[in-house]
């Protein structure tokens, strides 16, 4: 499906608090047109987006071998799943990769944006454009390149690390944390430019008066960054977090390319890889469907939590 590797995103952070009851549109327009206009989308969505998923939900209550028999098992798939150590392992892996790929990236993106914000920077436009270049590559090709670079005995990264005295023959495949670092590096490489641009845009929108008054009060550049820039970025940070979460919890292509079975210690087994293997390797479609539903719940919960936190911050922050 053309959802892209981390899902397509809406680029609008929830900056303003919306009163949920207000209708933001135009009352005088004939609302009946609405039905016609959303019809194509709803139709396509129901047929190609919703129906397959509903069918999968249906089969999560079955033990279904596509070439064999299927029998109704009720909640057994879910019960087995909660008792399956692989499920919890995959949660650990997914969150570990998510943590390693989201937070360092965010710090770096904010730092980078801060550098790019300077109006006296030469080659502004060039730098900004370069930032998006990693985003246009295919995941498979990049995984091949990075797996070479991360080779245990002969990879360039290990060469650099041992030259710098930081480590020797680190196994970025077998080691649990190193393997997550490898994946996180690929994800960070791909998305940091994109997120930098988002932060940059938000920074550029910060009214100059705030910096003016801060500097009048005698604040140093660093203090201005801490007390003016960062607070104004709160909404953007939460937005980037939410989007990063939805995508990060569904990391699939990179781990699958590196170790399709998840690795000997199941270090690469993310939630979606776990799902995929149960469905397409073990042919346990019912079980896989159950995993899919659990993934959705997890993403839903985390996103809701993020949303409410962001709402609270916005509420506190708006004047």
């Amino acid at each position: 499906m053309t959802k892209g590797e981390r899902g397509k995103t809406s680029l609008t952070p929830w900056k303003k608090t919306r009163k949920p009851e207000a209708f933001p549109g135009v009352r005088s327009l004939n609302g009946k047109w609405g039905y016609l206009y959303v019809a194509p989308f709803i139709f396509m969505f129901v047929v190609f987006g919703l129906a397959p998923v509903l069918y999968s939900v249906y089969i999560s209550f079955f033990h279904w071998d596509p070439l064999g028999s299927s029998n109704f098992v009720g909640l057994r798939n879910f019960n087995n799943l909660l008792h399956d150590s692989d499920f919890w392992l995959s949660i650990r892996n997914t969150f570990s990769i998510w943590g390693l790929s989201t937070f360092p990236q965010m710090f770096m993106a904010i730092g980078l944006a801060n550098i790019l914000r300077n109006t006296r920077l030469r080659g502004k436009s060039f730098f900004r454009t370069i930032l998006l270049v990693p985003n246009i590559t295919s995941v498979i090709a990049i995984t091949i390149v990075f797996s070479q670079l991360f080779g245990r005995d002969f990879g360039i990264i290990n060469d650099i690390l041992s030259w710098a005295g930081l480590g020797h023959h680190i196994d970025f495949i077998e080691g649990v944390i190193p393997s997550h670092v490898q994946i996180a590096t690929m994800i960070t490489w791909r998305w940091i430019g994109y997120n930098t641009l988002i932060f940059l845009a938000s920074m550029l929108a910060i009214p100059n008066e705030l910096y003016e008054s801060a500097s009048v009060d005698g604040a140093t550049k660093r203090q201005q960054f801490r007390f003016v820039t960062l607070p104004q970025l709160k909404n953007t940070i939460t937005f980037v977090l939410i989007v990063g979460t939805i995508g990060g919890l569904q990391v699939f292509a990179e781990p699958q390319q590196l170790a399709a079975d998840g690795g000997s210690s199941k270090q690469f087994l993310t939630l979606t890889l776990f799902l995929y293997n149960q469905a397409f390797v073990n042919n346990k479609y019912g079980y896989a469907a159950a995993i899919g539903i659990m993934i959705t719940f997890i993403v839903l919960i985390i996103s809701t939590v993020n949303f409410f936190i962001s709402r609270k911050i916005s509420n506190d922050g708006t004047r």
């Binding site: 596509p66 087995n80 070479q148 005995d153 079975d261 390797v281 073990n282």
Partner: protein, 438 residues
């Protein structure tokens, strides 16, 4: 003039006693992976049968023999020919309903290639290695695939590195070093002992990956994880089969003796290691020789091939079969029988190094006399032919591949020093319970 053309027409008409079907254009769709279907043979067949178009779709192995074939079978679509790799043979043998029983097909006949008309799979069975043939036979006896090649397994070793370590280099003497796996491990330890401290630190070792020993030993037995009880799933015996324990224990012993460099096969580190002499031996199937030639051309002449401990082994191999829902079964069967005929399999061996499963060739001097200068002029044809004939048919059941994966992961954990051998085996057993149940 007119008489001549009429005569020619009459003679021509007489020659076309075969069904007119042979001249109608037909497209055979083939799902395969890698170079199973050789390009030059495709061209050759096209010259023989201009009306036939071979449409080949290559995929990665797992999506092909897993996802795509499953989807095809459930949705009653699919290609005319599919290539099933040996690691999936256990799975598909449980689902003969997805394949055409090739015993029910009859060849149209290919005079130019010495293929008679009316041959079914049963008629050509004798041309092939029995245990490779058996991998294409479903639990109910139907023939769902005919073998293309046989991986074979022998030890490819570096003569220059052996010399440095004070080991013999002539292949007969080398084979005598290791009639058993224990002696193989001992030789490895001897080799490692001779390495300089610097080389040891750089990660050099005797064999590329000790884990490869497991598969070799498993293939030397008479049973793997299943016994054929006539049902579609087979009876699980992985926990009682002594061959499993033997293979596991020997591999663990080799791992703990440190004779492997723990480099993963087919990684870029492995390619580099080949070039640098990081490891001195590889358990190499016949087709890997070409791989070594391509990846490490500068090591030409420094390799040789010796017999493996315990006789032969196997790694890899493919069966070609015709799915049940194929559109052009007859044309597909004709192509298949031509492509898999001993003459063609010999051609494939010569151009690509895939060792033929057609055992009639093993007496053919064209095969037995074949030597490879890259491998020090070793008579590779003879060596592999002898090796593959020592193996016996093994029944493989539905979850064979999944079980192999779980055990492989267990061995990997021990090699990476993540777990002790006992704990790792315990996890293997619990993982297998999940795979096998539900």
């Amino acid at each position: 003039m007119a008489v001549a053309s009429i005569a020619a027409a009459v003679i021509g008409l007489g020659a076309f006693s075969a069904p007119a079907k042979a001249a109608d254009p037909v497209t055979i769709t083939i799902w395969t992976f890698g170079d199973v279907i050789q390009r030059n043979l495709v061209a050759e067949y096209k010259a023989l049968h201009p009306e036939v178009t071979l449409q080949i779709k290559k995929s990665d192995l797992d999506p092909l023999d897993g996802t795509n074939m499953v989807t095809a079978c459930t949705s009653k679509t699919g290609p005319d020919i599919v290539a099933t790799e040996v690691s999936y043979s256990g799975y598909w043998r449980s689902y003969p309903k997805c394949f055409t029983d090739l015993r029910t097909m009859k060849t149209t006949g290919e005079p130019t290639a010495n293929i008679a008309a009316g041959l079914s799979a049963s008629d050509i069975k004798a041309n092939y290695l029995p245990w490779r043939w058996a991998q294409g036979v479903a639990f109910d006896g139907s023939v769902i695939g005919i073998p293309t090649d046989v991986g074979g397994l022998e030890v490819a070793y570096r003569t220059d590195l052996f010399k440095k370590a004070g080991l013999p280099t002539e292949r007969g003497a080398v084979a005598k070093l290791w009639p058993t796996w224990d002696k193989f491990i001992a030789t490895g330890q001897k080799y490692n002992a001779k390495l300089s401290a610097a080389n040891k630190k750089a990660g050099m070792g005797f064999i590329d990956n000790a884990g490869t020993i497991y598969a070799a030993i498993m293939n030397q037995g008479t049973a793997k994880y299943y016994a054929n009880d006539g049902t579609e799933n087979g009876k699980l015996i992985y926990d009682t089969n002594p061959q499993v324990k033997l293979a596991w224990n020997t591999t663990i012993k080799a791992t703990q003796a440190g004779i492997g460099t723990r480099i993963g096969q087919y990684t870029s580190d492995w390619n580099i290691g080949m070039n640098k002499g990081t490891f001195a031996t590889i358990l190499a199937p016949a087709w890997m020789m070409d791989y070594i030639k391509a990846q490490a051309p500068d090591t030409a002449g420094k390799w040789d091939i010796a017999d493996m401990p315990g006789g032969g082994g196997n790694q890899g191999g493919t069966q070609l079969g015709i799915p049940s829902y194929a559109q052009n079964k007859q044309a597909a069967y004709d192509f298949l029988t031509w492509y898999l005929a001993p003459a063609q399999e010999l051609k494939v061996f010569k151009t690509y190094g895939l060792f033929p499963a057609a055992s009639v060739l093993y007496k053919d001097p064209a095969l037995t006399g074949y030597t490879d200068p890259f491998f020090n002029n070793a008579p590779v044809g003879k060596i592999y032919a002898e090796g593959v004939q020592t193996l016996k048919p093994i029944f493989e059941g539905k979850l064979q591949r999944a079980i192999d994966t779980a055990i492989g992961a267990g061995l990997g954990r021990v090699a990476a020093k993540k777990m002790t051998a006992e704990k790792s085996w315990a996890q293997v057993l619990s993982d297998l319970k999940k795979v096998v149940n539900n």
